[in-house]
Subunit: 214 residues, 8 copies
């Protein structure tokens, strides 16, 4: 039986009517809709649409990612925990996108922000939470060293997400991506800012673990 | 309790005495040694060393990766299956390195070679095996489309490994890496030719699943 | 006797009066005008100009490409079919530009949208149409695997068009271009988003085939 | 009925026994073998093998490409002409590879060497031959301007092949590839040094034309 | 005695008051001002300033380059001709900048536009003018082949100027720069869009020739 | 009074007689010679030369860097400590080159090897030594995170040296350089493998501190 | 006792309320705030906030960098001089950022502007000031040769800061960064436009020297 | 009357018999031969060939460039001086190639070596010779600042030649090329190591000046 990755609507570059129409179809056929890279005007239109048509639905916003759930939607339940860590403020929107995907799939998310390597003791304080997660997503920009430091300290599989911060040479996430691919610990990696892919891959791993738990 | 990734010796660029000495230490302290990127002369020296010092030890060669196991070594057992698929002949050495890591950790490996997208029906014939694996490693060079095609057809988490084949623009695995990071399905990725990292990450995921099975 | 590629006006970066003047010249000397990369304000000015000066002319819009045909223009006829396939929504504007060139030359166009490799069965369903085309244009962004998959299944010559979609490493069509140049099947390629060039090259091939048919 | 691209063996990076074994299989199953990127020792071994096992077979060498044809092989016949032009001496090996593929498929090849743009009158002298071809392959290194100049003067579809010559910035075929993709005339392009792909794509186009001629 | 390159003010990124103040100083100390990369609002402010303060001065606009000359300014005289050729419309603004520098130094400029290699006969028609120039500037975008074609046909020293046109791989002048640096004829080159540098270098060469003429 | 950076001979790419002659001049004029990137045959020739001509001179080898000191040479004394740390075995040769420069200038060197971030506790154990140094050089390859981690924990100025290790994307020191330039702590950086420059810059800083101590 | 680098708030990409809140916290906890990359609207809001809440505080603006100091703040005192030199007008904002950091730490700053290598005598005139500084920051764009020229003439340690000026190949600071990393003199380098990092590193060096002076 | 650039044979990548045959043709038809990038074995074969066939011919070697002149060859005379300057030892072979071309055309060459910017006073000492040249070629590797410094001090037109020295980021001449294209003085540039092109362009300029002198 396939469960797969939650379907998501990539809103960037689409018109407001297109986004609303796609959300409408998702809600009508599945009782829920997951959208990523939603702009403020797109979000406002979504809110209006939901308020008018299904006022008892719930809207969750995770930076650019948006989950809409109708009142009678039965969310999947996934008995596994995805740990998510970020280095600094700029990494949070990307981690939010990953979190939205995991929550949408029913996983428990344990989120730890602002533990970048420039203040290493804050990172070390969270090791137990990192070790308790079934799989971890670690998002970091600039030099992107956080996933390497975390993966060196835990047995949990770590997915690194480079974030498009930083200026000059290696900016916009390029140094972070290169650093994660060169990591002297064990990481697998997704593209720069690809919170959705990290969340979806973590979900697939969490589903495999939850199935094994049954 | 941490189990972690099997320790490996990166032989490339090391002298023959260095490689033998590192293998000696590993064998004496753990009863086994795992080496990657072992050249032919390094391998010959390893064989000689083992024949002289521990003649009842076993040597397994997986292209450049080498596992040495003493007679009384009790290998770990890992109740989980790692699927490994390759597109063509050039991808096999990289997959062999990944396989060596998984086997060293005690995982079951289900290996499928020569299912590149230029002959799509061969790929489609193997879907059931891909679906039965707990986690998959898919190695591909040139345009690197195979992990995308596989991940689109199965729920198994897929780790893509770009292989340094191809000439001209995007050669040496660059197009494959870029293509896997841009995949329109869900993949996480390791660096070009990083069979070791793919095998180690698959091992961590397999261990999490096996633990859940208990 | 040379027939060549239909002349086209590249509107991007030109002022509205320049674009209108170039269209005017084309209409007066040849009875038709083909423009690419036409913006909304440029299009509005073209419509106004045509409405005022040659109200019985017809305007066809294909995303940014625009064909204007006067009432007494005798379109060329080209007894050959150009197949055009796209992977997803973002590829359609580029394919529209290619289609405009082929139609302008009198070719029959058989267009198939939304057959990206993430949903492979939809691709496989269209194989007969791909095989019946005399030459194919396949547009794809992100990892750009669709032209490879199509070319592996048909004898029709395939021209790959990378589309500037995707973010992060290999984004903006770079991975797609690299992947098509590295394809393990047989493709020739045009630049990223070069729908015009793909359409023009397909037209030259279609003309050679149509001439041979005579 | 599919005819497709002639099967070829990519010899680069394979051992001599592997190359001979692959050629053996090809000869036994189809009566012919086409190999590309064959080194001198690989070629010598092929000659020896053929002399011993099938002494009445014929070996054709086109730089690195090699065609072996048994005495009773019935070559395909393809009623169409592929024109091939090169800019200078360094481009000839790549053109030879393309030529081998076309000849193997039974096409007529009309080859013109040493017509680089630095001596433009030599290029202009050959226009009639370029116009008479059904499809053209133009190979050029350094700045790679020859395909652009040719395509501006003829209606024949032109496939540009960048050649890995030149030193410094844009060397190794990079400037040639970029220049062909940016051409202000109409070209489709293959990767740097990809004579095989150019020959195979020209073959597919020639087959479509020849079929139309029937 | 040094004559050197005419001093110019690089207006891009400067505020309107800064630009006007710099022009004022130049006019007061030398009786003339040369500015490059002047925007429309900067130009309007310059016109206003001149109209108010030195109404009998003359303003010459060459795309973004602007020369202001007071009534009693005695322009230098330079007995030499700089030939300037462009491939297409997009190259003209860059050539205009080069032309402004040459004219400001008193050189004669012989300008030929729209002789790109896609319509080679127009290029060949101008050979005598190219041969009569003392030094040539040839500006071209996209694949940038024009300077190569011209330099192959004349003994005049040719300075190539790549122009930032074209999209996709090698766009924004990159292919043109690479192609000119790889030229199989003899060229020296300036940076992409560096009309000023080309004009200044041509001026230095023209001055050396004019001095020799004395 | 200028003291400056010790003069060094860059041996790479020079012939053995050239290297010996340059060392001879240095020894004769200053009583010492410092050479970098010395190959094994170059070193053997240096040893022979010294043994023959100045048998009481001392030769110090630091990987590729070589210091020769005659018996009556009075070494400079520099009352300051340069700390040097490396991540792993591959970083040691680059650190050796830096160390040779510092020692040649008379500085005290406090060297700590093998404290890469994959085994963070070993790094943390050395903090007191790092804090006691007057200036630090930290060499690291692969993802190059060590200088960032160290600089986040100490007030000592840290100079990062990327090392050309690692394969695939970001290999050969590219990721390490980019990561150090993007560091979220405070670092200044030298080029990949530029141990000499790091040592010389540290020497200049140490000299400034030692002068202040007087 | 650690003194470290002054804490700074990176304002770019933050909302006005976020910036004001971060400044508020800094002011309340330390009596001062240092911000970098502050936009005009962010600055206006900061001014309003300070005027309202702590009207006797002082605001210093150094291009995008802003220092706010309350009336009773006791600034640190640092007995050392940081020399700062720039090549041209475009380099000044980056140097201003560096200067703000040094001043905030209590260092004396000796600033020299407009001494670019195109007018070498102006550079040479300032050598005594460069030699008197304890550490130097040299900011330069375009080809970035100034730090090399300065470091060749003085014993002061020089930190090079590439500035994102210039267009075409090597523009946006890329040539300057590469040139400083390739310098044939002794430099350490920070990223393009990283005035903050240069200032902070110079501060750490100045602090070490000042401590030694005690 | 065209005089043009001396014909040269590019020996790199050609076999010894090919090189000898091309030299033979040149000697027989023109009485001289100019070859570039000649390897040691190629040079030995040339010497043997000349000794046997035309023992009274003269061979001049300029690093990889070789001029052969028969006894009765009447060299062209060119009344103009080409100045050539280099920064350091590694630049000399490239300058030698340029010099060979200029001498072959009959120009006077004024050569100044080892005046790199790290020892600026040596550069400044040569200004009069630089000013007396009719045109200058300046070759420099690493950061490539020498042509910029020279061009800022003289009115002579300067052609910059980047040299493929340096390691790490911007190595192999990339920083030098970028720096010369970004120069804040007036330069035109040839490709990395393109001594031949620099010499040929300087020759064309020298010919124009010499003609004007008549
Ligand atoms: N083929 C490989 N690719 C990447 N990392 C490897 C590889 N083989 C071993 N390693 C890692 O490198 C470490 C050994 O490096 P070394 O100390 O140089 O032998 C091991 O602990 C592994 O984490
Ligand atoms: N979208 C396009 N991409 C590339 N080339 C184009 C495009 N549209 C038109 N062209 C070519 O550009 C020429 C017109 O360029 P222009 O003179 O700038 O209008 C046409 O003759 C075509 O060869
Ligand atoms: N202009 C700058 N460039 C680089 N790093 C900076 C800059 N300004 C502040 N920082 C660093 O970034 C940190 C603040 O980042 P944030 O938390 O995003 O405000 C500070 O502690 C500094 O270390
Ligand atoms: N070192 C060189 N760099 C660039 N072009 C050269 C060089 N030497 C010769 N050439 C050019 O290459 C042509 C000869 O090329 P080939 O036919 O390969 O010998 C000559 O006519 C020159 O225009
Ligand atoms: Mg781990
Ligand atoms: Mg899947
Ligand atoms: Mg096919
Ligand atoms: Mg054509
Ligand atoms: Mg010429
Ligand atoms: Mg620190
Ligand atoms: Mg210095
Ligand atoms: Mg000058």
């Amino acid at each position: 039986q396939r469960r797969g990755v939650p379907e998501a609507i990539f809103a960037e570059g689409k018109s407001i009517p297109q986004v609303v129409a796609l959300a409408e179809t998702a809600l009508e056929t599945t009782g829920r809709a997951l959208l990523t890279r939603v702009s403020d005007p797109q979000f406002a239109a979504l809110e209006d649409y939901v308020a008018e048509t299904t006022p008892d639905a719930t809207i969750h916003r995770h930076s650019g990612a948006v989950r809409v759930v109708t009142a009678d939607y039965e969310p999947p339940s996934l008995e596994a925990t995805v740990g998510i860590a970020t280095g600094g403020t700029v990494d949070e929107a990307v981690a939010d996108e990953a979190e939205a995907v995991c929550l949408d799939a029913g996983a428990t998310v344990d989120r730890v922000d602002d533990v970048g390597v420039a203040a290493l003791s804050r990172t070390l304080d969270q090791l137990d939470r990192f070790r308790d997660a079934d799989v971890m997503i670690v998002a970091a920009g600039r030099e992107g060293a956080l996933p390497t430091v975390v993966a060196g300290l835990v047995d949990t599989p770590v997915i690194g997400v480079p974030v498009s911060s930083g200026y000059g040479y290696g900016g916009d996430g390029e140094a972070a991506l290169a650093g994660m691919l060169q990591s002297c610990t064990v990481l697998s990696v997704v593209n720069v800012d690809a919170g959705f892919v990290a969340g979806a891959q973590a979900t697939l791993i969490a589903q495999a673990i939850a199935t094994a738990r049954d």
